[in-house]
Amino acid sequence: MRTIYFDNNATTKVAEQVFEEMEPLFCELYGNPSSMHTFGGQMGRRIRQAREQVAGLLGCEPSEIIFTSGGTESDNAAIKGTLAALPHKRKIITTRVEHPAVLTVCRELENHGYTVVELPVGKQGRLDLAELEEQIDDDTALVTIMYANNETGVVFPIEKIADLVADRGVIFHTDAVQAIGKIPLDLSKSNIDLLSLSGHKLHAPKGVGVLYVRKGTRISPFMFGGHQEAGRRAGTENVPGIVGLGKACELAAKNIEQENNKVKKLRDKLEKAILENCPDSRLNGDKENRLPNTTNISFEYIEGEAILLMLDKYGICASSGSACTSGSLEPSHVLRAMGIPFTAAHGSIRFSLSRYNTEEEVDYTIEKMPGIVNQLRELSPFVAT
């Protein structure tokens, strides 16, 4: 059975060109860049090239790029590293809809005596910037707010937020894992101090990511050991991963317009047809400020995991904010923060597309969806038959 992959916010296919770049780095060119011999030392050049490719996509200096093991490490390093560099400040401002790689870190810090303010969002998932402004005080060490939400695709006005935070002299970190490669960004014109990105969300492999640290921003290292990454992140470099990420960033820089147009067109078609053909369905999140690839739709009276399994039978991969899919018992914290009723949150499905999706795949899904919804509604005690 063929696979129709609409779960690109979870992870993405490694681009073939990326894989080609990486392939010789396992069995042939496996040297350690820290070695003195040419065989290992030549890998340093490959890492340098990757650093330039990443910097090219982000519009920053190569020296501002630290390679990490992924988005989660970058978030941990940014938050804990900033606090460690500012021991006299005890307050962190974040939002209720962050990814767990930020939210759980902040809540853990609360247990160590930090004050954490989680800004609420409105019904469409928007932040109130006036409230953010009000919250920033002399005790605030860090503001950390995601660029785009992984569940709804809602994009926050990060540049505006970065300006506002910079005006008050506070460090600003953004988890841009979902945004990079999907929407354009130019750090040379931005007040963002720290930014996390993850390789496997933009067609590079799993296990590699980046923390961008703006020149002059003080953060204490999070990993200790060797002198790699100019002493800012110890550990032998994941050479194939880093090289792959470099290539993926180069491709993303080229593809960003295509993503914006082709992917958005497909997403819009899928979304419109599902909302039209499935009664009692609703869109979650801000329709205007949104990633081009993501749609999050709730189906009333039925449960997300059951929908996913039905889709799976047709080879269609998606995800859900329902409680049952996560192993927790409560539905998505993002949808709850937006005030989406529990009933709709339990039946929410996220489709996230990539440049590899086709119109035919979208049409096939549009054709299958109403049948799945009807079949489950026939089982539901909340639907009169």
Binding site: E110, N111, G113, T115, V117, P120, E131, E134, Q135, D137, Y301, I302, E303, G304, E305, A306, L309, M310, K313, S322, A323, C324, T325, G327, S328, L329, E330, P331, F342, T343, H346, E378, L379, S380, P381, F382, T385
Partner: protein
């Protein structure tokens, strides 16, 4: 992804006995939309008091639908006495097993069956009612229900209780109480406490005391406040006086004084020292960020 048995998948993709029996002898309704799963079971008896027909309607995940479907198959042909003996374990075994975190689906099946039998015995009048005191307010689970899943499935950990009846799976504020119920029932067989409950200590150094206060706030108090959009922060400890500040919703809550004495002070006395008393830090309560929403 969950590892579902082929039998479970079969019952999910091809559910048996879907619908509602017209003019049924017994109706059992459990769960709710908000909880994420709900089941309505109806059955009909023959002249000999055996279940001749059973139907279900279920809102929920694949395992909730599959357990409902097998339940209707299992009870057909049984007398009510026989049906009463069906346990959640029987339902799970019939499906070839359920993932641990989905055991609550089998418990929901058994509850619906009981509710339907109860409904029949009361001449169709009685609706399912909660018995006992509600321990888990997030999912409305009572002490009686928690005791029952512990006994029937020989559970020894809070996490298992959550898997079987959802209790403790929301804000987590009742996990301490669930643990006490486990201790009461299982007594000797527990060797380790699963949730790291701070042990009441004898003589503490000042640093140990402050750490224990912070730990108690982190694990015993904050989860319950968070569930209601609030929060708490430890400001200072002076001798036996513990100064805390309420944040978020708690800061404006009219029940804050009650929470302070009844929750914060009670928990600190229970886990740290009987001599402790709490005070609210007025100064930080007046900071602007405590007055939102």
């Amino acid at each position: 992804m969950w590892e579902y048995t082929d039998k479970l998948k079969d019952h999910f993709f091809n559910p048996r006995n879907v619908g509602e029996i017209e003019d049924p002898d017994g109706v059992g309704e459990v769960g709710s939309l908000a909880c994420g799963d709900a089941l309505k079971l109806t059955f009909k008896l023959d002249a000999n008091g055996r279940i001749t027909d059973a139907k279900f309607k279920t809102f929920g995940c694949a395992s909730a639908i599959a357990t409902s479907s097998v339940l209707t198959e299992m009870i057909k042909g049984l007398t009510l006495d026989e049906a009463t003996k069906v346990t959640n374990k029987d339902i799970a075994e019939y499906l070839g097993g359920l993932p641990e975190q989905k055991m609550h689906c089998s418990v929901m099946g058994r509850e619906a069956l009981e509710a339907a039998i109860e409904n029949y015995k009361s001449g169709g009048k009685k609706k399912h009612e909660l018995e006992g005191n509600v321990i888990c307010t997030c999912f409305g689970v009572t002490d009686k229900e928690i005791e029952r899943v512990i006994r029937e499935n020989n559970l020894t950990m809070v996490e298992e209780v959550t898997n079987y009846c959802k209790a403790g799976g929301g804000c987590g504020g009742c996990q301490g109480e669930i643990e006490k119920i486990i201790e009461k029932i299982q007594g000797d067989i527990i060797t380790e406490s699963p949730v790291s409950t701070p042990l009441r200590a004898g003589k503490l150094t000042n640093i140990q005391k402050i750490q224990l206060i912070q730990q108690t706030i982190n694990e015993q108090i904050r989860p319950a406040l968070r569930a209601h959009g609030g929060n708490i922060e430890l400001i200072d400890v002076e001798g036996n006086k513990v100064v805390v500040a309420f944040r978020g919703m708690c800061a404006q809550c009219r029940l804050a004084d009650f929470t302070m004495k009844d929750v914060v002070e009670a928990k600190l006395r229970e886990f740290v020292s009987e001599q402790l008393f709490v005070e609210e830090d007025k100064e930080s309560a007046q900071q602007p960020h405590n007055h939102r929403e």
